[in-house]
């Protein structure tokens, strides 16, 4: 052990001739390395040969809202032919789709839907997105469009609408009424029912009997005032 330590601490004596020979070899290796790299100097020129091709970027297929050169009207999204519905998506007998039971406006939610807090919350989010611009967040007809424009939007809070069947609201959203356009293309039937249910909640909120409130709710209302 001690001998090894002693040996390594002493500098090795290399004869001058060997040292020069070593240096020469290192230099020749260095030179050949640089020569080799220099021989590859043409490689960046290959970049000039690279061409851009976009056939995968723009494939011969239609995406939504594309312009078509095939269809005469220039639309990739063809409007559905008149008087057709997507297969298996519509049942003219179903209250869920029509808002009617045997031709009469439905007075309750269709059996497929359950009235619960989730449905009302969903209806609120749809109502706020699609209805509130005109009808206002509380349904008083003071939405921002009505407020700014020349429109008079009827309030949802009157006896006629409070006593209307729930199917009536579904029907109006589906087919429009007066100046209101149909929202059938934007709001699917389930969402229309959710909105109708939420309208009922709004109507109650603006016309609730004090007797209906619990003691805790009453205190909340008083604290608010």
């Amino acid at each position: 052990m001690a001998a090894t330590v002693q040996g390594s601490s002493r500098p090795a004596e290399v004869p001058v001739g060997v040292r020069n020979e070593h240096r020469r070899m290192v230099n020749s290796v260095r030179k050949s390395f640089f020569t080799r790299v220099a021989r590859l100097a043409w490689l960046p020129l290959c970049l000039l040969l690279v061409a851009c091709h976009v056939d995968m970027y723009d494939q011969p297929k239609y995406k939504p809202n594309d312009v078509s050169t095939f269809f005469p009207d220039g639309r990739a999204m063809q409007p559905p032919p008149a008087n057709t519905v997507p297969l298996n998506s519509y049942n003219p007998e179903s209250p869920l789709m029509t808002g009617r039971i045997e031709g009469q406006l439905a007075d309750q939610l269709p059996p497929e839907l359950k009235l619960d807090a989730a449905l009302l919350a969903h209806g609120q989010s749809r109502y706020n997105a699609f209805c509130a611009p005109c009808h206002g967040l509380v349904g008083d007809g003071q939405g921002v469009i009505a407020y700014r424009g020349p429109l008079t939007v009827p309030s949802l809070h009157n006896d006629r609408l409070r006593n209307a069947q729930i199917g009536y609201f579904f029907d109006v959203i589906t087919n429009g009424i007066g100046k209101m356009y149909s929202y059938a293309s934007r709001i699917p039937p389930e969402d229309r029912w959710a909105i109708a249910a939420y309208i009922r909640a709004l109507q109650l909120s603006q016309n609730a009997d004090v007797a209906l409130l619990s003691e805790a709710e009453l205190q909340q209302v008083r604290a608010g005032r």
Binding site: D58, P64, R75, A132, V144, G149, Y183
Partner: protein, 220 residues
């Protein structure tokens, strides 16, 4: 002894030209990369002219109309849904009915000929982006589209390079927000702490095992 072919400074000139050549190649590549990332190439922030000068700022920020009023399929389909002329007319049959700016829209509604808008984002056809899954998992409109509610004419907010997509697919907790805030353009991602955002990632069942960076997630 014959005259020298090369002047005394030939070596210096040779070295300088060698250096210049290297710098030229490096500079060219740098310039190309810079161009590739710049708005000159990506169009980021450059508003496009449209047949009708529609303002998101007016409709979203001032009128508070929900994104879904026009982009109605954003929660259900791959595409957010470009509004039909009928959507414009559901208000503009009553409001601003004589504006010359809306002549194109009125004509379209009467004739059934679509208005040809200029597309802002054109994703390569080999990328299958789906709006609905992002919205359902708590990625807000503004996370990708920026403050479009502050733009008059719409412009791209992102170049949509793959590295940018992967940034979120690798670390969704840096971008996620509660589902109720998806359409809130003013939402600040730092409103929730990192721990709370991690909790949302778990709650919304976003895979964190690297699945989201598999090629086939976006390329099919």
């Amino acid at each position: 002894m014959s005259a020298q072919i090369f002047p005394r400074n030939a070596n210096a000139i040779f070295l300088a030209s060698l250096f210049g050549l290297v710098m030229l190649v490096v500079g060219t590549i740098a310039a190309m990369v810079g161009f590739y990332l710049s708005p000159w190439y990506t169009d980021v922030g450059i508003a496009k002219a449209q047949p009708v000068p529609f303002s998101h700022k007016h409709h979203v920020s001032e009128l508070k109309i929900d994104c879904r009023y026009c982009h109605a399929t954003v929660e259900k389909a791959a595409t957010a849904g470009f509004p039909a002329t009928e959507t414009c007319m559901s208000c503009h049959s009553q409001v601003w009915t004589t504006s010359p700016l809306l002549e194109v829209v009125r004509t379209s509604y009467q004739t059934g000929e679509p208005v040809v808008w200029n597309r802002i984002y054109d994703l390569p056809d080999f990328v299958y982006f789906n709006h609905s899954i992002h919205v359902a998992k708590g990625i807000g409109c503004s996370s990708c589209h920026g403050r479009i509610d502050q733009q008059q004419l719409a412009a791209k907010a992102q170049p949509l390079y793959m590295g940018w997509c992967l940034g979120c697919h690798r670390a969704p907790e840096d971008y996620i927000r509660p589902r109720e805030e998806v359409f809130n353009m003013e939402w600040d991602v730092n409103a929730l702490s990192l721990a709370e955002r991690r909790q949302l990632v778990i709650e919304y069942q976003i895979p964190t095992d690297g699945q989201l960076t598999n090629c086939f997630v976006c390329h099919r």
